[in-house]
């Protein structure tokens, strides 16, 4: 037998040598990957011809950073992670976990003090430190707040874990109130509180909850029934356009059109379901993807009805169950009826509670359906279609109900989306949206409602946070826009989270039906998505 590898090299190589070698490889690969794309930039000159701009310094920085990162990971990161799993010889105990070392009482106190000082000085920061350093100070304050909140959650983790659903729902229900109160105290007036809450309630609250609802809806199709659907956004589009068209053309109320949009989306779900019933796995995936694209292309090209790429604007707002409206000019405008100051925040807060209600409805229906025969049939179908069929389950109706139910919630979310934006266009219903929703479902751990909600919060909230990092402009110059890097980081986060937790945030399964006692099943024993 010819030994092709040289064994002595691997024996002699110390971690440092190995790290150096790996770093050199990584640097060479990075150089190859980035030499054309970062080293050169294509730009248009005045006569609109493409020219190349050279950026060798940037290339050098990126390559060196890659090498340094790889070196540190191999030399220190890997041994550290390996040591975390090894019992200490002297004490016979596992080393303190990273989290316990990270969250310590002195650090917590330091964070609280930092926050207090910086909040106290908030108004005079610019004067004291100058605009450059003040940006850093605000960032530090945000970090300290996050750290303090995380520590509190870490200390009460067993309590939180035990009462997660109740705590989560309470927190979500109180969220706008807390935001308004905190900002009102901070700004010194109620009006400032409402005005400042717009961003937090709309960009974070509503945005994340829409994705939670969509992901929970898709979870019925992918997580419970195991049918891989890459065109879920089509149902979202159907719901949005149903409300947009019927609302603007016939002036119907949101409360009538919400169920109508759900029904229409469910109808389309069945329509899609019929041809794809015989398909399995990846064939199903591509047909659903094609379906999503067909819907989008029809929305773009059927200009007489949908107004093409220009979209539909002027979609009526939701009314407060017909009693009050949120249009300032109406006689029964909410502020006039209740005799309070005019503010656009009421509508956002109302929408927040509306989408929260819709989310809870989705969760309730999902939990209930899982205990009903059809829900059990879905889960059986996911685990093994042949066994399912031989036990007398009608796979046709089971698949169709899964598609229809999932689509219905997509339709609800769509009509809500149209009402919130006041404007819909095909731009909002691209494949990327389907991909994001699917990613949330899988990253959350398929089938787990809590995991999916956490994943939506991390992924969508995380990308929203990038909009806040204005201080980076002081580091990289005023041309630097953190928003540009949003989707790049989102894609990389998808990869990293998947590599870190291939089974999603909640990797175990609680069976809905059991003989004597419910035992969580590790995700690695289950299979899914064989369509």
């Amino acid at each position: 037998m010819a030994v092709t590898t040289s064994p002595e090299r691997d024996i002699v190589a110390t971690p440092m040598q190995r790290a150096t070698r790996e770093a050199l490889y990584a640097g060479a690969i990075a150089l190859g990957l980035f030499v054309l794309f970062i080293g050169l930039r294509t730009d248009q000159n005045i006569s609109n011809e493409l020219i190349l701009v050279q950026r060798w310094w940037l290339l050098a920085v990126v390559v060196v950073l890659t090498m340094a990162g790889r070196f540190l990971y191999v030399a220190y990161g890997q041994p550290f992670l390996a040591n975390q799993k090894i019992v200490d010889v002297a004490t016979g105990l596992l080393p303190e976990s990273m989290a316990a070392r990270f969250f310590r009482l002195p650090y917590f106190i330091a964070a609280i003090v930092t926050v207090a000082v910086l909040v106290f000085l908030a108004g005079s920061l610019d004067g004291l430190l100058g605009p450059g350093l003040a940006g850093y100070a605000r960032f530090l304050r945000a970090l300290a707040i996050i750290y303090a909140l995380a520590s509190v959650m870490f200390y009460f983790r067993t309590f939180i874990h035990a009462h997660f659903s109740a705590l989560g729902i309470t927190a979500l229900a109180l969220y706008p109130i807390i935001v308004v109160l905190v900002l009102a105290l901070y700004g010194g007036s109620v009006a400032a509180g409402f005005q400042g809450s717009l961003k937090w309630v709309d960009n974070y609250g509503i945005q994340i909850l829409i994705y939670v609802m969509l992901a929970w809806g898709l979870n019925i199709v992918v997580g419970l029934a195991g049918l891989l659907d890459l065109g879920y956004v089509a149902f979202y589009a159907v719901g949005a356009y149903a409300y947009a068209l019927l609302g603007t053309q016939y002036g119907l109320s949101f409360w009538i059109l919400l169920p109508a949009a759900g029904a229409m989306a469910a109808f389309w779900g069945v329509l899609l379901g019929f041809p794809v019933l015989r398909l399995r796995g990846d064939y199903l995936a591509i047909v659903t993807l094609a379906f999503g694209e067909i819907i989008r292309l029809v929305l773009i090209n059927w200009r007489e009805v949908t107004n093409g790429s220009a979209g539909i604007s002027g979609i009526p707002k939701v009314t407060f169950f017909g009693l009050m409206t949120f249009n300032v000019s109406d006689p029964n405008y909410v502020a006039k009826v209740l005799d309070i100051a005019t503010s656009s925040a009421y509508y956002k807060i109302f929408l927040y509670y509306l989408i929260l209600g819709l989310c809870l409805l989705t969760a309730f229906v999902t939990i209930r359906l899982r205990r009903m025969p059809v829900g059990r049939a879905w889960e059986a179908l996911r685990e093994d279609e042949i066994a399912c069929r031989s036990l007398g389950i009608n796979t046709t109706t089971t698949k169709l109900t899964a598609f229809a139910t999932g689509a219905m919630f997509g339709g609800f979310a769509g009509s809500f989306f149209a009402a919130r934006q006041g404007f819909v266009s095909p731009e909002s219903f691209i494949f990327l949206e389907s991909a994001i929703i699917l990613a949330i479902v899988v990253l959350g751990g398929m089938g787990s409602l809590v995991g999916i909600a956490v994943a939506a919060m991390v992924m969508i909230g995380g990308t929203e946070v990038l909009r806040e990092l204005d201080f980076l402009k002081q580091v990289f110059g005023p041309d630097f826009t953190p928003e540009l890097y949003r989707m790049l980081l989102f894609g990389m986060a998808m990869v990293i989270v998947m590599l870190w937790k291939p089974r999603g945030f909640v990797g175990s399964r609680e069976p809905t039906a059991f003989l004597k006692e419910s035992r969580a099943v590790s995700g690695s024993f289950t299979k899914e998505g064989h369509g």
Binding site: L228, V276, I286, F291, L432, A435, G491, M494
Partner: protein, 300 residues
């Protein structure tokens, strides 16, 4: 009749490009059973590399013969794009081999998003037009055939012949086919499975890079978001022909090309993609595993 022949030629050109991309999808699917969603963006990276090489050539030399320029663009694009796909496989797919089926699909989607946005961030979001490289048009009995189209069809045919030789006549191809049938058994028989899979990704990327270069030459413009639509259509082509089957990918690519050009010629150009996707759905209803695909045998 002339009009029909004209459309046939246009369809053949488009179909060649789709076929080249579709091979990458179908090979990866055949060997590890995953949809490589990033492949469309790999194609875009190939086209962008070709664009940058074209600009470098233009900046360094006063004038370069078109044949040499195309050749250099193609080779550099093949090399760099292969490096991209090789790295992606190593970083994002290999650690998840043996994990459940949707895990690599999600990393592939993540990589696709990351790649297109990487190009957007580094090269800017605008369309990048280049001056026409080949502009000669032949007129044969009322049918106009441009030199570009001839180049595309000839390059594709040559590559497919080379590729057919690689897969069917070399030990590398034999290893690939063995891995496709049974990875564990192939490993027991001494085939380096990891290496074979890496080479599969490299080959797929090289073909996609050629497709990208041809695309750039044909349309004369590329943008960071141009990977998605050709990628989805090529994937459709792979499924239409029967995913996992190499002749099927080429056949599917040609079919999608023909459907598109015929539909835009005789019906409406707006709905050409709708037609392609609808025909996919209809074909799959009657032939659930594609035209040349093997029906999936299910063992209990």
């Amino acid at each position: 009749m002339q009009y029909f022949v004209q459309q046939l030629i246009n369809g053949l050109t488009l179909g060649s490009i789709y076929g080249l991309i579709a091979i990458g999808y179908t090979m990866v699917y055949g060997i590890i059973g995953m949809i490589n969603f990033a492949h469309g963006d790999i194609f875009m990276v190939g086209a962008f590399t070709a664009l940058i090489v074209f600009l470098i050539l233009g900046a360094l030399f006063y004038s370069v013969p078109v044949v040499i320029a195309l050749l250099v663009m193609m080779i550099v694009a093949m090399l760099l794009t292969s490096l991209y796909n090789w790295t992606i496989e190593k970083v994002a797919y290999r650690p998840l081999r043996g994990s459940f089926r949707l895990a690599p699909l999600i990393t592939a989607i993540g990589m696709s998003i990351a790649l297109s946005n990487f190009v957007q961030v580094t090269q800017g979001p605008r369309n990048k037009p280049i001056p026409p490289m080949v502009s000669k048009v032949y007129n044969i009995e009322g049918v106009s055939v441009s030199l570009k189209q001839i180049v595309i069809v000839i390059v594709t045919a040559l590559l497919l012949a080379l590729f057919w030789y690689l897969v069917n006549k070399t030990s590398l191809g034999r290893a690939q086919r063995a891995c496709e049938q049974d990875r564990k058994m192939a490993a027991l028989l001494g085939i380096d499975v990891d290496r074979t899979i890496s080479i599969t990704f490299v080959m797929g990327a090289a073909l996609a890079a050629v497709a990208g270069t041809l695309f750039l030459m044909y349309y004369g413009v590329i943008a960071f978001s141009d990977g998605f639509t050709p990628g989805v259509k090529a994937f459709t082509a792979a499924v239409l022909g029967g995913i996992g089957s190499l002749p099927g990918a080429v056949l599917g690519g040609l079919m999608i090309g023909f459907i598109e050009s015929m539909w835009s010629a005789y019906f409406s150009i707006d709905y050409k993609d709708v037609a392609a996707f609808s025909i996919l759905a209809i074909v799959l209803i009657f032939l659930p595993s594609g035209i040349l695909g093997r029906p999936e045998v299910e063992k209990v």
